[in-house]
Symmetry: C2
Subunit: 261 residues, 2 copies
């Protein structure tokens, strides 16, 4: 079990050395975590525009210079090719491989995109007395493909992916207030209550991550999710792309509280 | 004098017909106004990245599809080539011409960028009892080049441009609270007080717009300004670009209050 109070630098070192390969929910309390997408430069304009048009799903935290693996704004000299616990490789929109390191796949025309992650507001929810069930149960957050269309940009389109946390209606109100103050990590929920209203058939069967317990008197609360770009990559049949594995995030050196302005 | 309660659609029609050619501060109370930059597609990636890296100066509201003059998200079928009161043409980073219409200059490889404008929060400031001096005096807002470097993206770099409103310290505190809730139109001030601290030598000589009265007991309050992209275009010596003339904005159909989430 990783100490939740370990520094991001220390946790990234353990990840780089292959000593942490698990999902990162709950690690480095208070520090923002980020989704990753890596694309060849010739796809980068369309994707950058996609993030602008879908800011609730894809709040951009940092974009690398073309060919550069260096993260310099959201972390102090991190390496995007080694510092996440698990990566996914997509060819023509199909997941072909999971890896712990992508150093040997890196190319001079790659551009990385770091996208805000809802793990970043979980510490704030807990501080506000809102339960975060998947942390309580030691699981990855449940994520679902919805029927909500993304706003198309060039080749990129697809359906919005959401993460879900069950809570009471009173807690849902509090959670909305807390997360609406954090637009750079998905902001306020996109939906509360009836899963079918956004095209989710069975809450117990998430498309990504793990199923969690929904207690009596609780309703599901849904936030836009940074896995949405993976859905867009699959829909666009992008020739080549690399992402984080769902839940296996990049841990930044930036406190969540600094993402509020 | 334009009725401040005229609808954006009506004001855009008057602009399109050449009946309004003035700056737009104070028009269409409560509706967001936007800065404009138009670039050929081969410069668009670098600029899109520039906006991502400089969000306080360049909060993007809408980006057109390549070649399209149509504004469809921030307005209902507006034409970006006719619906602003005045445009500026830049060649190799030098201002070469001002125009009331750019229809005949439009090219299939042009991409437009609409960027949030501080005029959008002025109605909110007035509602909060904060004076907006240039509106009181019937002038354009004073704008200044600072010594604050933008975060470089590809060819784009340059200094941050700010707008200035004088007010008492108590009003400055209230103005900070109000505008921090509106990140899509520049958000909280970037500086309060001493102009020299950000490289402004003489408050009475703005680099763009008009000089306004600073009363006894008032301090200048500075916000990042959407003219910053014009500074970046000049610094980058971009072969060809078109912008709005400072203060002569695109008036959207979107209420400022909707830009808060």
């Amino acid at each position: 079990m990783i100490n939740t109070e370990a520094s991001p630098r220390e946790v990234r070192r353990l990840i780089r050395e292959g000593k942490i390969t698990t999902q990162t929910s709950g690690m480095c309390d208070g520090y923002a975590q980020a989704n990753l997408l890596i694309l060849p430069k010739d796809m980068a304009y369309d994707f950058l525009l996609f993030t602008q048009r879908n800011p609730k799903s894809c709040p951009l935290l940092e974009v690398g210079d073309t060919g550069s693996r260096l993260v310099k704004r959201m972390a102090d000299n991190a390496d995007i090719a080694t510092d996440l616990p698990k990566y996914r490789v997509f060819e023509n929109g199909v997941l072909t491989e999971e890896r712990l390191d992508i150093s040997d796949l890196w190319r001079d025309d790659f551009v990385y995109f770091l996208i805000g992650c809802s793990f970043s507001f979980e510490a704030e929810l807990i501080a506000a007395g809102v339960p975060v069930r998947h942390i309580e149960e030691g699981k990855n957050v449940p994520m679902y493909l919805t029927n909500i269309d993304c706003d198309r940009a060039g080749v990129f389109c697809g359906k919005t992916v959401v993460s879900m946390r069950p809570m009471t209606p009173a807690e849902a109100i509090r959670a909305s207030a807390v997360t609406s103050q954090m637009p750079r990590v998905h902001g306020a929920p996109i939906h509360i209550g009836d899963p079918e209203a956004i095209g989710i058939k069975d809450l117990s069967k998430p498309d990504f991550g793990d199923s969690v317990t929904v207690k009596d008197g609780e309703i599901p609360v849904f936030w836009c999710c940074g896995v949405t770009p993976q859905s867009a990559v699959m829909s666009a049949k992008v020739p080549y792309a690399i992402s984080h594995a769902p839940g296996h995030m990049f841990i930044t050196d930036v406190k969540n509280s600094l993402l509020k302005d």
